[in-house]
């Protein structure tokens, strides 16, 4: 029974990681860029959601929606300002720009007139309820996270495989120039990808803030790095891979704390990143194939 409880703990963590990892992987799939500011977009999402359901008095779903809209705009702005001018520059330039963006967001949000540097305790928008299923405790928060993440994943699948913009995204991910020749608006498609990825991070942020009720401007760093690891583990650029990687990361962290030692948790989590890169750089779902010219 305890084992099952730990599996559920890991699932809760993994699902939130999945929402962040999706953004990393989608952006990488389209522009071959690791958007290191992604963890900080997650943080902004958490803050906006928090202000939504506390100071602004919005109902919880509307607070999530607000966070999604704000983060989409933020994501697109970041892309336009920091990445687009560097699209045809060497990859390393865009990467450094991403780091700069990440640090900028962290320290800008720490300013007194933005979010402030202090920790805030999140007052949950609803009471938590515990259900006891034969010795196994499940909370309404866990159920909510599960439902929200599954719904988001279904929406994403629909977007990518059933809509015109999804088709555009897939074609751009294959080849920018050919896609452009076929009449796809590459710039808009890239912007939409950033918007969707950031919206997912926002949902992740709000859920995280509700599940682990404390937020501060540097809260995005660790989840961001873990989600990045998850995306690489699953095979960066592959959407099901990001979810799979995130779920594995959640379980690994939880099981390490539960059955080995809580001290080893992060060490083991990041050893996975190194091992994957050394042994199977394309990730679990990635096929090894030769580079196309």
């Amino acid at each position: 029974m305890e084992f099952l409880a730990q599996v559920i703990n890991g699932l809760q963590l993994g699902l939130v990681y999945a929402l962040i990892a999706l953004g990393y992987t989608m952006v990488y799939g389209i522009v071959r860029l690791i958007n290191f500011a992604h963890g900080d977009i997650f943080m902004v999402g958490a803050f906006v959601g928090y202000f939504g359901f506390t100071s602004w008095g919005l109902p919880f779903p509307l607070a999530i929606l607000t966070a999604m809209v704000v983060c989409s705009i933020l994501g697109v702005t970041i892309e336009r300002v920091a990445y687009k001018p560097l699209r045809y520059a060497p990859k390393i330039a865009a990467l450094i720009s991403a780091f700069g963006m990440s640090l900028f967001l962290e320290y800008f949000c720490s300013l007194k007139f933005v979010f402030g540097p202090n920790f805030r305790v999140v007052k949950r928008p609803f009471e938590e309820i515990h259900w006891n299923l034969g010795g196994l405790t499940i909370t309404n928060i866990q159920v909510m996270i599960f439902i929200v993440v599954v719904v988001m994943l279904i929406i994403l699948q629909y977007l990518i495989f059933r809509t015109k913009i999804g088709m555009a995204m897939r074609s751009v991910s294959m080849d920018h120039n050919t896609a452009r020749l076929m009449g796809v608006n590459v710039d808009n498609t890239i912007s939409v990808t950033f918007a969707i990825g950031s919206a997912f991070a926002a949902v992740g942020g709000v859920l995280y803030a509700v599940a682990y009720p404390q937020i501060y401007p540097f809260m995005g760093i660790m989840p961001g790095l873990k989600a990045f690891t998850a995306a690489v583990l699953g095979g960066i650029g592959i959407i099901p891979g990001a979810v799979l990687g995130a779920l594995i990361m959640g379980q690994v962290e939880t099981m390490t704390s539960a059955y080995l030692s809580s001290q080893l948790r992060d060490a083991i989590a990041f050893s996975i990143l190194i091992l994957v890169l050394l042994i199977r750089p394309t990730g679990i779902l990635g096929r090894t194939e030769t580079e196309k010219v």
Binding site: Q6, N118, F119, R170, G237, E253, S262, L277
Partner: protein, 392 residues
């Protein structure tokens, strides 16, 4: 989604990422040695204050700053023949930043003495800078023994105004065993923080020596927010006590998740709980060891609480009180020495004997630690309630 993959590129990116992070975090720790300022006609002594005015323990910084300023105000801005000038610095409860601001205070502002910092993890690095530069440091609240003694060597210029962790951890363990009559405990502490490591270890030692059993001794990292795995494990062991020797933000977060996982244990903690930002609803019924209680019936405490309330319109917590005491101790030493020479001030401070402060009469032992008692407080009905005083 189809794409081209390039494992080597990602590997390079990760290496670069780690390098950049490491460079960002590590880099800038050096303390410079600097000459003394030229004495001018008017006699002025400069004192620095360092505290976490922003960040995860900002209420600690605010309270200590209030106590520091009130003590200077009461002295009339003067000590002996000297006019007091002060500089206030924020370390954000970050050890690197603490060293930076201490270095700035000493080399640029030429302070002769520093009151601060609050947390041991900041005060200990500061103590190296202060001691090397021969500037007096008195920390109001840092309880880790390493502050004044490093590997058996006394840092002569460093003092504190509070008791130390071995005492605090032992008091908590004894209180649990003797007063609460509880026999099993689980301990959860921050593996990267000298303060919580110290308390956790001393608690465990004393608790086991007194016949109790520590069922789980677990740690976490500073930025962790998810404690579900460890807490699920602890819930199964069903301890009587959950000892949480961390600062108020962290224990509030852990406490909440502990109750969600069905842990019914009594929460027990240290002076890091003392903040108005503690989640009182979650920590209801918990006990913690502290330096003083505003409900203490001694007349010194009554006067102090009234004075503080008149100025800041709130009840002083232990941090404000200790900062006030620390500043008074320092001013008294400057007055006794009647000099702005840090070497003479530190000798006077070391010789302090039965000096009356709000948190008790202070005499220094050879390690610069005052010998004093601890108060036990309980979180009850959304307030701190005085339970008992334990003498060494």
């Amino acid at each position: 989604m189809y794409l081209k993959r390039n494992g080597k590129l990602i590997f390079l990116i990760v290496v670069l990422a780690v390098a950049l992070l490491a460079a960002g975090c590590g880099g800038k720790q050096q303390a410079q040695q600097e000459a003394k300022p030229a004495p001018s006609g008017e006699k002025v002594i400069k004192i620095g204050f360092i505290g976490p005015l922003t960040g995860d323990v900002k209420t600690f910084g605010e309270s200590t700053k209030n106590g520091f300023l009130l003590a200077i105000e009461q002295a009339g801005g003067k000590v002996g023949d000297y006019k007091i000038e002060y500089e206030i610095a924020d370390d954000r409860n970050d050890a690197t930043e603490a060293v930076n601001v201490a270095t700035k205070l000493i080399t640029q502002d030429k302070v002769k003495a520093i009151v601060g910092s609050v947390t041991s993890k900041c005060s200990i690095p500061i103590s190296k800078v202060a001691n090397d530069n021969k500037v007096v440091q008195i920390s109001p609240t840092s309880t880790n023994p390493k502050l004044t003694v490093d590997e058996g060597k006394r840092k002569e210029y460093v003092f504190r105004a509070c008791f130390i962790d071995p005492f605090q951890g032992t008091v908590a363990a004894k209180f649990a065993l003797d007063n609460l009559k509880l026999k099993t405990a689980a301990v959860l502490y921050d593996q990267g923080n000298d303060y919580t490591i110290g308390l956790a270890n001393y608690f465990k030692e004393a608790f086991e020596k007194g016949g109790g059993k520590v069922l789980a001794f677990e740690s976490y990292a500073q930025n962790d927010t998810d404690f579900s795995a460890v807490l699920t494990k602890i819930a199964k062991l069903n301890p009587d006590i959950l000892y949480l020797p961390d600062y108020y933000q962290k224990v509030s977060l852990i406490g909440k998740q502990a109750r969600e996982k069905g842990i019914k244990a009594v929460f027990l903690g240290g002076d890091g709980w003392d903040s108005k930002d503690l989640d009182f609803a979650t920590m209801e019924g918990g006990y913690f060891t502290n330096h003083y209680s505003a409900d203490d019936p001694r007349p010194e405490v009554k006067t102090w609480v009234e004075q503080y309330k008149a100025k800041y319109n709130e009840t002083p917590d232990a941090l404000a009180t200790l900062a006030y005491d620390a500043t008074k101790l320092l001013l008294n030493a400057i007055k006794t020495a009647n000099s702005d020479d840090p070497a003479k001030i530190k000798d006077a401070l070391q010789a302090t004997s039965s000096f009356p402060t709000v948190s008790g009469k202070i005499t220094y032992d050879k390690d610069g630690n005052p010998i004093k008692s601890a108060a036990i407080l309980q979180i009850k009905g959304g307030k701190q309630v005085y339970v008992d005083t334990v003498s060494p």
